[in-house]
């Protein structure tokens, strides 16, 4: 049987969440989970050519293990017509609620245009009232951390990756609302902030709140 190559009809973008128990799965595990879910959902996805065809999925940003998010993005190509609404409905039924799709649409902006991501970081323990000044000082001084790079572990100053921030002191916790660089050359992992803290919090949460373009103002969609 001779088959022509499947024709790509259009590109779609899926915006989804990553919460609860699903916070603890790695990027590789997320890819595998999405792949089986797309097949279960019967979505006509485009497969790569070659000896080892696999569904073509592109994710916008990495998310560290343990962090939750309301704004993850994945791009796909379809090889047959299916409406955005139907893709969303089918995928929602095939995914755990903690990985639910919240929007499906045709992308207008490329992932390469992403410049910043906004996070809410909550520190528990001795990070209550009075901690804002200390945190502010840390975030405005050089921040040397060990960073994984292609050339192994090396000391890096992540100060350049930090944008505007705001700190709210609560009873027994501090909430840091912060913009971090997220373009592919300067992606700043929020875990590095925790790593830079001299007094480690007893526990902490990281939530990705939004993704922005290079101007740091326009929301990425």
């Amino acid at each position: 049987m001779v088959q022509g190559l499947p024709v790509v009809t259009r590109k779609i973008r899926i915006k989804f969440i990553k919460q609860g128990a699903l916070k603890f799965i790695s990027h590789l595990d997320l890819c595998r989970t999405m792949k089986t879910a797309l097949i279960r959902a019967g979505i006509p996805i485009y497969y790569t050519e070659g000896f080892n065809p696999h569904p073509k999925m592109v994710f916008a940003l990495p998310l560290s293990i343990g962090a939750s998010s309301d704004c993850e993005y994945m791009d796909l190509k379809l090889v047959a017509e299916m409406s955005d609404a139907e893709v969303k409905e089918r995928l929602a039924a095939a995914l755990p609620v903690e990985l639910a799709p919240i929007a499906v649409y045709e992308p207008q902006v490329k992932f390469a245009e992403i410049g910043w991501a906004r996070y809410r970081m909550t520190f528990f323990g001795d990070y209550g009232v009075g901690s804002a000044a200390k945190l502010t000082e840390m975030l405005t001084s050089p921040m040397i951390v060990m960073k994984h790079t292609k050339n192994g572990e090396r000391e890096t100053d992540i100060q350049g990756g930090i944008g505007r921030f705001e700190i709210v002191e609560l009873e027994g916790a501090a909430v840091l609302d912060i913009m971090l660089k997220a373009d592919s050359a300067n992606y700043t992992n929020p875990e590095l902030i925790v790593q830079a803290m001299k007094e480690k919090p007893e526990d902490y949460r990281i939530e990705r709140m939004g993704v922005y373009l290079a101007d740091g103002i326009t929301l990425f969609v």
Partner: protein
């Protein structure tokens, strides 16, 4: 769920969070019995076990029974649990195991016994069955090791012998019934369970020993307790419960694909192989039913690989028909087929064509012994000609990396047989260059992986002694010297591990003392190289006064009462004795397709079986 800060500190937190797609959640207020199914090793290994997937589904098919899963925590999580006084929990609900009605353990290999004890301790359930009260869960064991449950008999309330699809549901129903009637006490329940088919309650038997340490008698304490427990089988595999979906792990597991069980049992009678005996009689599913099950699992899981699993897949009478039916839809759906457990003598161009989607360039075969004489003695009915024919197929497809499995220390083995392993490996390389025509792919390479023979219960070699460590070492070194070609890679198993396995494989109840001492010393994960410590084990045996050679290196008497005589696996002892005599004469026994050898398993019945005397058999 366990605290987030702990999850952040441990490796692979996805092992502990649950919440997988396909997991079964029920309202605990509405169910009548809660069953925790524990695989006493890591999540990745446990989630790869098809048996648990089947039993999980079979139990949960009952509305009033909720079956959950549990695994052995990795050492980092164990440390957190001990530090934080957190009792072991079941994955679905997060509730402590000790709150469950029944906790089942699958015993897949002997070296998991220390993990069973560790899991019980972490769950805060008394280790010894005799110390449990009416408020503790019932601890039930099953799986391949339950064909000799004696080394762990003191830790289990009962064992489910044989296939559990119906048996586990029946025992849970009995539990529910006695609870509802108000007649439940641990003792009353166990007494009643012992009267049901396929349940062994070790506390209801009295074991007496001779002065030399062998067993004098193994008798039931009461008249209504059976002298021998006959294993249960599912008679019709087409009708037997098979899951329609799987719990989908988030983290990568060992077998992350659809496993389609094609048939149970084995027609081959390899004389060292326990699985080939205890799963008899052979019972096939029909291609239509299998195709249905495969389609259904594909739709519900989204896996893009189907592994046809059985002890020797090419022995399936309708393998051609099945693969044709599957290929009608799998190719278009981007699903690949894999056929593990291929026999040398069945590896054909036709089959290769169907699985050519297989990405690996490695082909694995198990000649098990280096000479025809020894292959005949162990009844591995393959010849060098079979190997060359299989190589023809492999090389034609450019699959030039060949892995061969062998065993050292087999009964009747001589140094000539060991040299034969090196020669056979060399033959593969030479054959590649001898073949006429164009060569495809890279230069050939051969890996030989050599295990140590372990005498196992319910085999023709169950009475045989394992070689001493010194002898195994000599044999391993001899083989090393005989391998001169650099294209042959030689791997061999740690003989110390094989020896411990032999001790527990043929052990009796006296070994429970050693296991308790091992727990006291913190031993666990024996099947993991990084934790296995032979010296500690020798100290343990010394402390409790057990001679490991008594179990591993002694030839058991054919008239001796064996620890596992209380379990009837369906195959008769008389058959094993005949097979042993044939081995010493290096005479092979025909497989069940060719001729019935009267092993006795056909008395258990079974549909679509090869057994000649079975009324519904194919060979009729």
């Amino acid at each position: 769920m366990i605290e987030e800060k702990i999850l952040k500190r441990v490796l692979k937190p996805g092992r502990y969070t649950g919440g997988e797609f396909g997991q079964i959640i029920k309202d605990k207020a509405k169910v009548k019995a809660r069953f925790a199914f524990c695989f006493p090793d890591t999540y990745e290994i446990g989630m790869s076990n098809l048996g648990i997937r089947i039993l999980y589904g079979a139990l949960n098919a009952h509305e009033d029974i909720w079956c959950e899963r549990a695994y052995a925590p990795w050492i980092d999580m164990e440390e957190e649990m001990r530090k934080g006084d957190i009792p072991l929990w079941a994955v679905e609900s997060g509730d402590p195991l000790k709150e469950f009605d029944i906790v089942g353990f699958t015993l897949q290999y002997e070296l998991c016994y220390t993990n069973v004890l560790n899991v019980l301790e972490l769950a805060k359930i008394p280790l010894l069955a005799s110390e449990r009260t009416d408020s503790d869960p019932i601890i039930i064991g099953g799986g391949p090791c339950s064909y000799n449950p004696e080394p762990v008999a003191d830790f289990f309330d009962l064992f489910s012998i044989g296939e559990g699809e119906e048996a586990l549901c029946e025992i849970t129903r009995l539990y529910i019934q006695m609870k509802e009637e108000g007649s439940y006490t641990r003792a009353a329940f166990l007494r009643e369970a012992a009267r049901m088919d396929g349940f062994y309650v070790p506390s209801l038997y009295e074991v007496r020993y001779n002065e030399d340490g062998t067993i004098a008698s193994h008798e039931p304490k009461y008249e209504d307790v059976p002298r021998r427990v006959v294993k249960r089988i599912m008679k019709d595999m087409d009708e037997s419960y098979f899951p329609e979906n799987f719990v989908m792990p988030y983290i990568e597991t060992v077998h992350d694909r659809i496993m389609l069980e094609v048939y149970r049992g084995c027609i081959r009678g390899c004389r060292f192989c326990q699985a080939g005996m205890v799963y008899r009689p052979i019972r096939e599913k029909t291609p239509d039913r299998l195709n249905e099950q495969a389609k259904c699992l594909f739709r519900n899981t989204g896996y893009d690989e189907i592994s046809l699993s059985s002890l020797s897949i090419s022995d399936y009478t309708q393998i051609g028909c099945l693969t044709d039916k599957l290929l009608e839809w799998t190719d278009d759906s981007m699903v690949s087929l894999s056929l593990p457990s291929m026999r040398l003598d069945s590896f054909t161009h036709e089959l290769m064509e169907k699985i050519s989607g297989v990405r690996s360039s490695t082909l694995t075969f198990a000649p098990e012994a280096g000479t025809q004489r020894l292959r005949d003695a162990i009844n591995k009915n393959v010849t060098e000609a079979d190997l060359l024919q299989a190589l023809d197929v492999a090389f034609d497809y450019g699959k030039n990396t060949v892995k061969l499995y062998f065993m050292l220390g087999l009964p009747t083995e001589t140094d000539e047989d060991i040299e034969g392993i090196a020669q056979l490996a060399k033959r593969v390389i030479d054959y590649y260059y001898e073949r006429p025509g164009k060569r495809k792919g890279k230069a050939p390479s051969v890996t030989i992986s050599v295990a140590c023979f372990i005498p196992k219960p319910d085999t023709a070699f169950q009475w045989e002694a394992q070689c001493t460590l010194e002898e195994l070492d000599r044999k391993q070194q001899l083989l090393k010297e005989k391998i001169t070609d650099r294209r042959i890679r030689y791997n061999y198993h740690d003989a110390n591990v094989s020896r411990l396995e032999a001790v527990f494989a043929r052990g009796d109840r006296k070994l429970s003392g050693a296991l308790l001492e091992a727990r006291r010393r913190g031993v666990r994960f024996d099947s993991w190289d990084e934790f296995f410590n032979y010296d500690i084990w020798m100290e343990i045996f010394d402390t409790v006064g057990i001679d490991p050679a008594f179990y591993a290196n002694r030839t058991f008497g054919e008239d001796e009462v064996l620890p596992w005589d209380v379990i009837d696996c369906g195959v008769d002892k008389a058959f094993f004795k005949r097979e042993r005599a044939q081995a010493y004469a290096s005479i092979p026994t025909p497989n069940c397709k060719e001729k019935c050898s009267g092993c006795g398993a056909n008395r258990l019945g079974g549909e679509r079986s090869w057994c000649r005397d079975c009324p519904s058999s194919l060979a009729k």
